[in-house]
Assembly symmetry: C2
Homo-oligomer: 210 residues x 2
């Protein structure tokens, strides 16, 4: 069937959001750790909009919708300038989903959802102790997207904690060995399985590597 | 182990790009179809940076690195104002990867890689006939990211061609039924499997849906 723009506009808003979020496909699920400036509450929330912006300098971004419960995370990033990105073990998917509930500001989602805050290298923002890969981020730039009032927040990677057995000789991180959580839309959780790795495509053929 | 920012900076550039691209996790792999303004060549290239910006209006984005072979795609989008996004069947992963090779400008990657262009609803940009989900896009805005000279291109969804059996009563698109391709970094291809869908998280518990 064809879904036209006119039909899209007529859909009920949650139906349309579900349709387009899930249609955008599989994303890595990550937990973002922040600290509230005033009360020092450790906040953690699940995100599916992690964007690789570039490797040199090492920049990643998220998209924020200011009208969602995740505005605490955005405010904490802007207030403190630091945050953490934590990959999620597949078996923690229910706890990770629970971080999307609308807890009161003084309540730590770590405690409420069964995760433990961890601190590394004197970095101010909390990591998720249960996470197999932990990444320290520094806020770099906020870009307002006027088309729909969303906000892109770009940060630079400060350091990465990772099991060295996951990193290959060419730099490839074998996430498939760490059994990490992916998601589609806001509520469907996925595991992934590697089919193959291919070498740099030439104009004549596609040989396999390893 | 801890990989500090200083160590990251010392890595050889391809190693660092591979590390950070793959660390950003699983992404949906899609084929972007465009048409060259001058010679009318139908272009198709694989992308892993599809970003859901919002559902109302329906906006999706890509990140472009101007120094890659995909600048033809960017130029065609800016020249013609239209493009297509095409999900990829898992079994087509080698052909899809092959679209990342640096073909000469007058050569159509459709022909070179074994895909067929398809045209729907008089839309000017070519779709991928083999794709199970086809989406027509109109260019809306280009945002230059000064931090590393990348470019975010935002487009609006014009129409979607999809098998109606994939769309659930709440709008959820069951990509898992269509056996679609995901990827990590620029060369590792993945299939995915749904674990579960969870209902909207409340502050007390996480019941399952369906």
């Amino acid at each position: 069937m064809i879904i036209s723009q006119e039909i899209l506009q007529q859909f009920e808003s949650r139906y349309r959001a579900m349709l387009l979020n899930s249609l955008a496909g599989t994303k890595q699920a990550v937990l973002v750790g922040t600290r509230g400036q005033n009360q020092g509450v450790n906040n953690v929330a699940i995100f599916n909009s992690l964007i690789h912006i570039g490797a040199n300098p090492p920049l990643w971004a998220f998209i924020f919708r200011p009208d969602t419960v995740k505005r605490d995370t955005l405010q904490n990033i802007l207030d403190t300038g630091v945050y953490t990105i934590n990959h999620i073990a597949v078996e923690d998917y229910q706890k990770a989903h629970q971080t999307s509930a609308k807890y009161e500001e003084h309540r730590s989602e770590f405690e409420a959802c069964g995760f433990s805050p961890a601190f590394l290298n004197d970095f101010e923002a909390p990591f998720v102790a249960e996470s197999p890969i932990k990444i320290a981020m520094k806020f770099e730039q906020k870009i307002d997207i006027a088309l729909n009032n969303t906000i892109m927040v770009i940060g630079s990677i400060q350091f990465i904690e990772i099991d060295e057995t996951l990193v290959g000789s060419d730099g490839y991180v074998a996430l498939e060995k760490a059994n990490l959580l992916s998601c589609v839309g806001l509520d469907a959780y996925f595991k992934t399985e590697r089919i193959n790795r291919l070498s740099y495509a030439q104009t004549h053929s596609v040989p396999e590597v390893k």
